[in-house]
């Protein structure tokens, strides 16, 4: 976790070291209670709205509402979850979106950032802005917008495809194409953000490395694979883990774009949790799904973290 967070630190390396050995506090030091006063709001809010809910969710996941009375049922919710075909559908959908969308988006992000960084590109600042703009759009807003664009009957996307003799494609009503729609919408929304993160990392790679490689006769591809990609690794690790965590919690897009359909083809774990909790008011089961999600995220993040760390050596 620490190395992951380290990469977020965008300040120049000189600022990063701690101030040289803290001097012993003189008589004009601060009163001992001072740090606790500054932390008081955080501690109170944290206990009330983070720690308590997390612990409470675990307790709730061990209970069931039977005829209006909350009853302790042990691991029943988890056993039910392990045998629930709909949960596996949701898990499968989520993982499928993950393995298609995340690599696609990250690859595009890398290509874009290299282009943004290249002297060959004219009006760089302008293009950067246009690719970054989708980020400001809220998930619901762009979900609604893409639903209109992908409208199977007469959405503009099919109109345009029709003009070149393709389609119409049943974007939101076909199980396969509904997943593609979500992947496309997410890619549109997030690619610019990743490109900007990579660009910041690219600018920290010293130019001499490229010059030296050039003198040694390395061609463009060799320079990309041997200098650019290794240089990008910290940003890559960060974006891979964050996109994974984000996608595993996917909720807004399928809720607005497809409402989980057709025939549960875009039901995600996040949506399934919401449905059980707030449509069927089965709080125990919803909480069990939440903890299963936590476990899945922890395992996947750990694996990714390990993989990247080994490659770095």
């Amino acid at each position: 976790m620490n190395a992951l967070l380290e990469t977020v630190d965008a300040r120049p390396a000189t600022d990063r070291r701690r101030p040289p050995s803290r001097r012993r506090r003189s008589s004009i030091g601060h009163p001992r209670l001072t740090p606790y006063l500054f932390l008081l709001p955080t501690i109170l809010l944290f206990l009330a709205f983070k720690l308590y809910p997390y612990l409470s969710a675990f307790w709730v996941s061990l209970t069931q509402n039977v005829g209006g009375v909350t009853a302790f049922v042990g691991l029943d919710n988890y056993i039910r979850l392990a045998q629930d075909p709909l949960f596996y559908t949701a898990l499968g959908n989520t993982v499928l979106i993950l393995v298609v969308q995340v690599p696609l988006m990250l690859a595009l992000g890398i290509v874009l950032s290299v282009a943004f960084n290249s002297m060959l590109l004219k009006w760089r600042a302008f293009w950067r802005t246009t690719y970054f703009v989708p980020i400001v759009m809220g998930l619901v807003a762009y979900g609604i917008l893409f639903r209109a664009l992908f409208d199977s009957g007469d959405g503009i996307v099919n109109e345009m495809l029709g003009a070149v003799g393709i389609g119409p494609i049943p974007w939101l009503v076909d199980p396969f194409w509904a997943k593609i729609s979500i992947v496309l919408a997410m890619t549109w929304h997030y690619t610019g953000q990743n490109a900007i993160i990579y660009l910041a990392q690219l600018q920290s790679i010293p130019g001499e490395l490229y010059e030296a490689a050039q003198v040694d006769g390395a061609n463009g591809w060799q320079r990309f694979w041997n200098i650019t990609m290794p240089g990008l690794r910290p940003a890559l690790l960060l974006t891979v883990i964050l996109s994974t965590i984000g996608t595993l919690q996917l909720f807004d897009e399928p809720y607005v774009l497809t409402n989980g359909g057709p025939d549960n083809a875009t039901l995600t774990i996040g949506m399934y949790l919401y449905q059980n909790g707030f449509r069927y008011f089965d709080f125990g089961y919803a909480s069990a799904i939440g903890y299963a999600l936590t476990l899945i995220i922890a395992v996947i993040s750990l694996i990714q973290f390990r993989l990247f760390k080994e490659k770095t050596r």
Binding site: V8, L39, A48, Y54, F132, L145, Y274, G277, I297
Partner: protein
């Protein structure tokens, strides 16, 4: 740097090709916005016309007045502005104070508390959805502003960002102020906060944008249309069958427009916020 060995002509061609490709991609990125803009100017019946409308129509003000009089969207705008603003101000206070404590003081429990902040960064927020709902029911806070504002004020990412930034403020500066007789609050507000102003600006944008666009949690704790925020209101406008697309698209535009304008003025801070905010929740 890659271009030194390529002749001037080759360089020009490559530059042209690259710029064209990026420009084409940029059109794809902007096209949905353009379509949205056009869609707000047509009545529902003509939004999905074939061939599609490419130039603005006459119905924008009809859509706008319909949206504001026939639905509670105006109310939702007010709610969102108020909630996001108050949330941003309070969030800044909480996060800067906590960041300061973690960065500049040694005290018992610091390691444990900061560890807790870091762990919460990685936990999925959906786990707390049910308990938070139950807390709000118990407190009688469903449909209230505080239900939306309080729970995420002590944002782990914000605290982390503030701590990192404040570590770089020299201790000598603080000690000098103390020698001059400044109280602890004065040191914090007059010395530390002004020094880290750029990071505060980035965090402010990050907080505002996050709250403005937040969906699932408000969806859970807001029950009556009078209390809806913009995203919840938009989702509710998108009913089955009877959706007025002209109004829906106008609402969608109104939800993006203020942020878009802000973005064009404050681009640098936005980018800083997103870069730092790459660690969301």
């Amino acid at each position: 740097m890659t271009d030194a060995l390529v002749g001037v002509r080759g360089r020009r061609t490559r530059s042209l090709v690259l710029t064209t490709v990026i420009a084409a991609g940029s059109v794809v990125m902007i096209l949905p916005f353009y379509w949205l803009l056009i869609a707000t100017t047509y009545p529902s019946s003509e939004i999905f016309a074939s061939p599609p409308n490419l130039l603005p129509g006459p119905a924008f003000f009809d859509n706008l007045s319909g949206l504001l009089t026939e639905t509670l969207f105006g109310r939702a705008i007010g709610n969102s502005v108020l909630i996001a603003s108050v949330y941003t101000v309070l969030g800044l206070v909480v996060c800067t104070a906590a960041g300061y404590a973690f960065a500049k003081f040694e005290f018992r429990g610091r390691g444990v508390l900061f560890g807790a902040v870091l762990v919460t960064l990685a936990l999925p927020s959906q786990v707390t959805l049910v308990p938070l709902f139950q807390i709000m029911v118990t407190l009688g806070w469903l449909d209230t502003y505080q239900a939306l504002i309080l729970p995420s004020l002590a944002m782990p990412f914000g605290i982390f960002l503030m701590r990192q930034t404040m570590l770089a403020v020299p201790d000598e500066l603080l000690q000098a102020a103390r020698v001059d007789g400044a109280g602890e609050f004065r040191v914090f507000s007059r010395i530390v906060l002004p020094t880290v102003r750029p990071a505060i600006a980035a965090l402010a944008i990050f907080l505002f944008l996050g709250q403005w666009n937040e969906f699932v949690y408000p969806l859970v704790v807001l029950r009556t249309p009078e209390s809806f925020t913009i995203p919840v209101s938009l989702a509710s406008l998108q009913g089955i069958g009877t959706t007025d697309y002209g109004q829906l698209m106008t609402g969608t535009l109104l939800s993006v427009l203020p942020i878009l304008v802000l973005f064009l003025f404050l681009q640098r801070h936005f980018v800083a916020g997103i870069l730092a905010g790459a660690v969301k929740q």
